[in-house]
Structure formats: C-alpha cells, structure tokens
C-alpha cells in the first residue's frame, strides 16, 4: 500500500484519442494511475471504454495522444515509441490482460499447468520442476484443485477458466493488469467468488489495475477510483464511493439510479 501514496505515477495518459474513420472511439482522455491503484472505467456499451483499454494496453494505436509507463528501472517511456521486442516483453511479463471471454486469454488445447507455465518460460525459466511447482502453487491460489493441472481448459467451467486466466496473468508478478469485464457472463455465485479472489490478490500483490466494467457493484467492490465514460469521453471522475453516492453528471445519476436493489 505504501507505493500507492508515492508521488510517481505508474501510467501517465495524455489526450488519448481514437477515431474509427470519422467515428469517435474515445476522445481526449487524460489521467494518471498510481502503483497499487485500481481504476474502474464504467459506462454503457459503445461508450468507448474498451477502445480506451485497448489503446492503453498497446493493442490498438491511438489516433492522437501519448501514454507513458514507468519501466522497472524507474524511467517513463512512451509506449508507442517502444520497439516491438520491448513491447512484447512488457506485455508478457510486467503486464497482464484479463479478457471477458477466458478462451481469448487462454490456450484452450494445452493443459492448465502449461497455460500458467508458458508465461514463466517467456521470462526465461527453463527448469521443468520449478515451472510445474510454481504452476501448482498458482492453481491453488486461484482455488483450482492440483489434480486438474494436466487437464485442458476445455473441460473447465466458465468460472474455473476465468480463474485459470487470472493465474496465467499473475504468475510473472506483473505490476499492471488490464481487465475487460472479468466477471461478465458468469453466474452471480461464481462472480462473487471471483470478485473476492480478485480483491485479495490485488491487495496482496499491490497490483495496479485498469478494469472496464458496466457493473457498478463490481466497481464499488474493487476500485479506488472511477472514470465514467459516455460517447467516447470521460464525463465524470473521482473517488469511487463519492461518484456512486454523490453523482454529479446527469448521465452518472442515471447510471446509479438504474441499479436494481436486492
């Protein structure tokens, strides 16, 4: 937690804009993300939140704007000026990306253990015993029984696949993890388990997270800060409970008042 209050941001985003032809994906988005901070991007479908997430994670080049990231050596680097090899290394080691559909983030035809071990090999681990031991440990941390290590994810339930995807991402101890609707499409009881697991892992590992969600309950449970997007622009931002309990913009008030109470 101590890093969280340091003065050096991990990610510095300035004026990020992405057009699709003459249609706006996202426009003029600026913010800073600090070590250990969880930022939720909320908004309805088509508001530009996934476009922004893809720009941040170098999966989609912005039309304009700059994104700088603090490398492990402390230097701020412009992500779109990194060489291809540097960028790939960053994505495989220092970053994680949790997709809504686990099949997009896993290799479905290799075993659970290999899914986790693959990222370790990418950072140079060649010792089979060590890789298997670490993979077993991580399966345990995401509550997958050790005897499933040789099964492939096609035989896993949706919730298990999502937990496996999380283990695969976290095994290299990334500092920044992007999540795109990580609980979308799961049963509520499965969601609750996954959320609790994410909450604990994020706190224990001191991860910085940018999470896209349309579920305000997910944002409340996991995030420190919220950005509300509409029509490609950030319309309101602030401390999570402040934005949810005292929303200022008409659209945010509509979002908050649309939550079903149980």
């Amino acid at each position: 937690m101590t890093d969280f209050f340091s003065d050096d941001p991990l990610l510095q985003v300035n004026g990020v804009t992405r057009y699709y032809g003459d249609r706006i994906g996202c426009r003029n988005v600026s913010f800073q993300l600090w070590p250990g901070e969880v930022l939720a991007i909320v908004g309805e479908s088509g508001s530009g939140k996934t476009t922004l997430l893809n720009c941040l994670s170098t999966r989609l080049a912005p039309t304009a704007g700059a994104i700088e990231y603090r490398m492990r050596d402390g230097a701020m680097r412009n992500l779109y000026q990194l060489g291809e090899a540097e960028r790939r290394l960053l994505m495989r080691t220092d970053w994680g990306f949790v997709h809504q559909n686990a099949a997009d983030g896993l290799r479905m035809t290799v075993s659970a253990g290999a899914n986790v071990g693959e990222r370790l090999m990418a950072v140079g681990d060649r010792h089979y015993g060590h890789i298997r031991e670490t993979a077993t440990d991580w399966l345990g941390r995401v509550e997958i029984e050790a005897d499933r290590i040789d099964d492939d994810p096609r035989s896993f339930s949706g919730g298990m696949r999502q937990r496996l995807q999380i283990a695969r991402n976290l095994v290299t101890h990334p500092r920044l993890v992007f999540m795109d609707e990580p609980t979308g499409g799961l049963d509520v009881s499965v969601q609750a388990r996954l959320l609790d697991l994410l909450r604990r892992l994020v706190a224990d590992l001191g991860l910085s997270v940018v999470i896209v969600t349309h579920d305000l309950a997910v944002a409340r449970l996991l995030s420190h800060r919220i950005m509300v997007m509409r029509h490609g622009e950030v319309i309101e931002t602030g401390l999570t409970d402040q934005v949810l309990d005292d929303p200022r913009e008409p659209y945010t008030q509509l979002l908050v008042s649309s939550i079903l109470q149980v």
Partner: protein, 233 residues
C-alpha cells in the same frame, strides 16, 4: 484543547438531473470546530443535513463550498479539495467512520472484517485478530459466528460487527453515524464505554445520535444543524 477538525463556511446542495435539474439545498455556512478528546453531537431533526455533513467530512459527499480542515500531525489538510488518493490515505490513518450498516464483502469472516482496518495501518496480524476477538466479545457477538462471513447474520449482529470494525483502529478523528440505533441497552452501554476510551486517547469525534440517553452520556457539546439551513434558491 488543540483543534482537530474545523469546518469553515461549508455548503452543499444536490442537483437532481433526473427530476428536471431541481436543486435541493442541504446546508450552507456550516461553521464549527472539534478539539482533541472532544465529542460533538450534531443536533436537529431528520433532513436537517446532519448525515450530509458527516459524509462531507469523510469525503464521501463532495463539498461545494467552504473548507473542511483536518489537523494531521503538523500539517492541515483540506478534505474539500483533496485528491482521491489523499482522501484514501486519510481514511486509512486519520479519519474513521462508524455506521450502522455493514457493507458485506463476500466470503470474508467476521473476525477478519473487524481486524482489517488495524492490519491496513500496519499492525501485526495476530495482534489485530486478538483485538478483534476482544471487541466482538465485548459487543456480545457469539463466538460461533466469528469465523463466518457476516452476510447471513441478523441486522443487529451485522451492526455490532461494524461497530467493532469502526472502533478497532486508532483514528485521530472518528465520525459516528447513529452507531447505537436499534441496539439493546447492554450493547449501547458498551458503545458508550468505547467512546469514553477514545476520548481518553485524545480522539476528536463528531456524532449523530438520536438516542437521548446515549447522547447525554457522550456529548461534550451539541451543534444545532438547523442554524445552517440552506434556503432554496
């Protein structure tokens, strides 16, 4: 008595965009201070804005006008214009909030819910859990419940878990949002004791307490919020 909290010309209104942009004035010109070891109770009828004032001090509601100054060591921080990160830091170490409603987190056992604020302040986990068990005992939460997540507890049990969580850590400024509402006499007496102990430790407190008996026993001063009524524009 050194001042711990000072509200200067604080004002707040809500603009309800879903109701045609109606502005609802809540309070204006709120001005009072609280010293170390002092418990100030906000007085006035429901709807006078007591809860909004408490929520602004905690940074949960935005403060439209004025300053909310908190003394932190030899620094003075204005909550009203602090960055989210700063407010989170204040909530970890400086400002505590005791309410009657527990926000339940799935799967976390009651004893860990209670111990968490102390662990976040850097306390040893074993000691924090021991202190949590001690508080749960004092607040008459049955031991068989300690290891269970509070989601399935009764309203009264959840409330007492939340009170234990609110009182476990040392915060120089503690906000009490009707902590004794619907508690029985024995547990009300425990809360009165806990507040007395906080005063001994020099904690400044601001409270909303509808229970006349508890209010008489813990308040050093009453600030009448109706004096800060905002007029509709």
């Amino acid at each position: 008595m050194p001042v711990r909290l000072y509200l200067s010309h604080v004002g707040k209104s809500f603009t309800m965009h879903l109701q045609g942009g109606t502005t609802i004035p809540v309070v204006s010109g709120v001005d009072f201070s609280v010293g170390e070891g002092e418990c100030v109770v906000l007085g006035g009828p429901s709807g006078a804005g007591k809860s909004s004032i408490l929520k602004m001090i905690y940074g949960n509601y935005r403060c439209d006008q004025g300053q909310i100054l908190v003394t932190v060591g030899d620094e003075i921080v204005n909550v009203a214009d602090s960055e989210p990160r700063k407010i989170l830091q204040l909530r970890k170490d400086v400002i505590g909030y005791v309410s009657q409603f527990l926000r339940v987190i799935p799967r976390v056992p009651a004893v860990e819910v209670v111990a968490e604020p102390l662990i976040l302040q850097g306390a040893d986990e074993g000691k924090a859990l021991a202190r949590a068990r001690d508080l749960l005992t004092r607040l008459n939460v049955p031991e068989r419940l300690w290891g269970l997540p509070p989601a399935t507890f009764s309203g009264g049990e959840q409330q007492r878990v939340n009170i234990a969580r609110g009182f476990i850590a040392h915060y120089p400024l503690l906000l009490l949002d009707e902590p004794t509402a619907s508690l029985d006499a024995a547990n009300r007496a425990v809360v009165v004791e806990l507040v007395a102990e906080k005063k001994q430790d020099g904690v400044a407190m601001v409270g909303i307490l509808h229970d006349q008996d508890v209010r008489d026993r813990i308040s050093d001063r009453i600030v009448d919020v109706t004096a800060f009524r905002a007029e509709a524009a």
